[in-house]
């Protein structure tokens, strides 16, 4: 998985490419842990993300909890497979999906 970050003042966009799974989720978690200070808007761009597993959901949940305290988090460009995962797990109500 590739992680591409773009910072614009207090807005951070993180574009993911590939698969967010057991092997790759720790890299995203580490990246977010060191990048969220001072950020009020986190945008996760999934346009090049193929799918995610529960390891990815765990990272999304902890990012959402962090951003609830300091601003907002938006997930965008979700494909059909990922959209169904969000539906089945109730993450469609936990996350803001555009």
């Amino acid at each position: 998985m590739n992680i591409n970050k773009t910072v614009n003042a207090t807005e951070l966009t993180v574009a993911l490419e590939g698969r967010l799974d057991t092997a790759t989720a720790p890299a995203l978690e580490a990246e977010l842990n060191q990048s969220l200070a001072g950020i009020t808007k986190l945008v996760l761009d999934f346009s090049a993300l193929e799918y995610l597993s529960s390891a990815g959901l765990r990272v999304l949940l902890s990012a959402q909890k962090a951003m609830n305290k300091q601003g907002e988090m938006i997930v965008k460009n979700v494909n059909e497979t990922i959209s169904e995962i969000f539906e089945v797990t109730g993450f469609c109500d936990v996350l803001t999906i555009e």
Binding site: D21, S53, R58, Q64, K65, V88, T89, G90, V94
Partner: protein
Amino acid sequence: MKELTLAATVENIQAVTDFVNEQLETVDCPLKAQMQVDIAIDELFGNIAHYAYAPSTGDATVRVEIEENPLAVTLTFTDCGTPYNPLTQADPDVTLCAEERQAGGLGIFMVKKTMDEMKYEYNDSKNILTIRKILN
């Protein structure tokens, strides 16, 4: 029927995924079904890698069987680790808000929801977990 035996490690999830995808690519498997199978591999082989032999390590075997009419794939995961039936795990409450949610418990739940069959048996000192997915 094809079978792969390798060390149950997180690093080997990719090798298992490639092995299964190679078989799925020999038939007309829709991409979405393939991705759901790949997610199931991540959850199930990942669980074996994390828990079956902890704190030691060991091998796991993944068997792939493809049937026609209907087109379906059956994956069997076998390990000789601690007996554990993931089907006895309670389903997570998927209606909770972010703050109330705990990490974890979602993997097996997702597999149950996306596969057509899932069964577990403990036989001959082995955990044998089978999933079946109809592909079209």
